[in-house]
């Protein structure tokens, strides 16, 4: 008995066209190729011929899968792409490797340019 199996390759262009914009089409891609169990997932997702893919679309495919089954399994997937689509994939896979955390209250206060109560008190005391 062999553990070898034929590599399963899916071609995105054929079914979804050259422009992948927004989350709805990402959800359709995910449902089309990754609806089954992990053992049934394709090994390679070929984006050859796809000209543009937004972060939100690719996050809806790969980010959602990573949040569902864990980053390690998704990072094993092979993707074939060039140009802007390669850039977008690298960006989204980078976020899967190092997910941005949910901003804390202090982060939000910093974004809003507000000084936290603690800092104000310390400054007043110092």
């Amino acid at each position: 008995m062999s553990n070898d199996h034929a590599m399963r390759v899916v071609h995105v262009l054929e079914e979804f066209g050259p422009f992948l914009l927004g989350r709805p089409i990402g959800a359709r891609i995910r449902e089309r190729f990754f609806a089954g169990s992990e053992s049934e997932w394709p090994d390679e997702i070929d984006f050859t011929g796809v000209k543009q893919a937004t972060e939100s679309c690719l996050d809806e495919v790969f980010g959602v899968l990573a949040r569902r089954v864990g980053a390690a399994r998704v990072l094993k997937l092979r993707t074939v792409a060039t140009g802007e689509v390669r850039d977008a994939l690298d960006y989204v896979f980078g976020l899967i490797r190092e997910p941005p955390g949910v901003p804390s209250k202090a982060d939000i206060e910093r974004i809003l340019g507000r000084r936290s109560q603690g800092k104000r008190r310390r400054r007043a005391a110092g």
């Binding site: 972060e55 679309c57 977008a88 941005p100 901003p103 939000i108």
Partner: protein, 306 residues
């Protein structure tokens, strides 16, 4: 029935939004009211203010009110942009419709889901955008922004979208306007933000910050994926637009933010219930789409690590 008459300025450009909002009744309007928008002295109107007027009347109608537009002597452009069709008003059409190609994309309602892709493609295809980078920027921005409306707006009526190409100014203007809950209420729906006492301006600031999302995790929500969102789409759109020499205008509640390569400007305006998003893309971008996107993503990562 309460009669409300509003008279917007006679010249309505992209940057005229504060003046336009100041001339409109404060929303939400009572369903027991009749709104008349007096455009009799209108001389010039661009896509963004046109979409705002259409969204105002549509939202008011959805609340059970009635809305009318008083037209200027020559109203062919308004008619050609489907203003009367969108608000359900019938006016005789006394001209031959010239093709839209290369000039404008008339007002239409856009719903979330499949229409994200469709709306983005329609604008680029109809306007026959020659420059590939300009086309990529337009597709990217429309795709991300229409997507946001679907997730955040929670509006009774679909968003309104339209676009216009200005051959002399060599730019394309796109408007996406909804009469939903707006940025502040969208953030306040999440427990993380409830105790922060956000103003409308705070909410816009958070909206254009990287990796900040108003969407809480909602299990089983098929559209929002049920696993939260990145919260980076509007940030990247905004940064791409600045780098290619474009403009972005956001309005929600009583705050507006205008970003151009020359800087950004906040203004307090008459409140708009929902969100107004307008942007312009030059026919010849200052930077390629690929480089602009790479810089925007790099900046997002840097800000994350601050």
């Amino acid at each position: 029935m309460v009669d409300i008459l509003c008279k917007p300025p006679s010249t309505l450009r992209f940057g005229s939004l504060p003046g336009l909002l100041a001339s409109l009744p404060k929303s939400p309007l009572s369903g027991n009211s009749k709104v008349t928008v007096d455009l009799k002295s209108l001389r010039w109107i661009e896509a963004l203010p046109l979409a705002v007027l259409a969204a105002l009347v549509r939202a008011h109608q959805a609340n059970g009110g009635t809305g009318f537009i008083q037209v200027p002597p020559r109203y062919e452009f308004l008619q050609r942009m489907n203003l009367f069709k969108v608000i359900g008003s019938k006016l005789p059409e006394k001209f031959r419709r010239e093709p839209e190609e290369g000039r404008f994309v008339p007002l239409r309602e856009v719903r979330p889901g499949q229409e994200v892709q469709e709306a983005a493609m329609e604008i680029v295809n109809t306007l026959k955008v020659d420059d590939e980078d300009s086309a990529m920027v337009l597709r990217h921005c429309v795709g991300e922004l229409v997507d946001n409306v679907g997730v955040h707006a929670m509006a009774k009526t679909p968003a309104i979208i339209c676009a216009q190409h200005f051959p002399n100014a060599k730019r394309t203007q796109v408007a996406i306007v909804d009469a939903g809950i707006g940025f502040r209420k969208s953030f306040q729906a999440s427990a993380v933000y409830q105790s922060l006492g956000l103003s409308d301006r705070d909410a816009l600031k958070l909206g254009v910050a990287p990796y900040v999302t108003s969407k809480p995790i909602v299990s089983g929500d098929p559209y929002a994926s049920g696993y939260g969102r990145l919260g980076v789409g509007l940030f990247i759109v905004s940064e791409i637009l600045l780098r290619v020499g474009g403009k972005l205008l956001l309005a929600s509640g009583e705050a507006t933010l205008r970003r151009t390569p020359a800087g950004q400007r906040w203004r307090v305006v008459s409140p708009w219930q929902g969100a107004v998003v307008g942007f312009e893309v030059p026919d010849s971008p200052l930077m390629s789409y690929r480089d602009a996107t790479a810089e925007a993503r790099r900046l997002a990562k840097e800000r994350r690590n601050v």
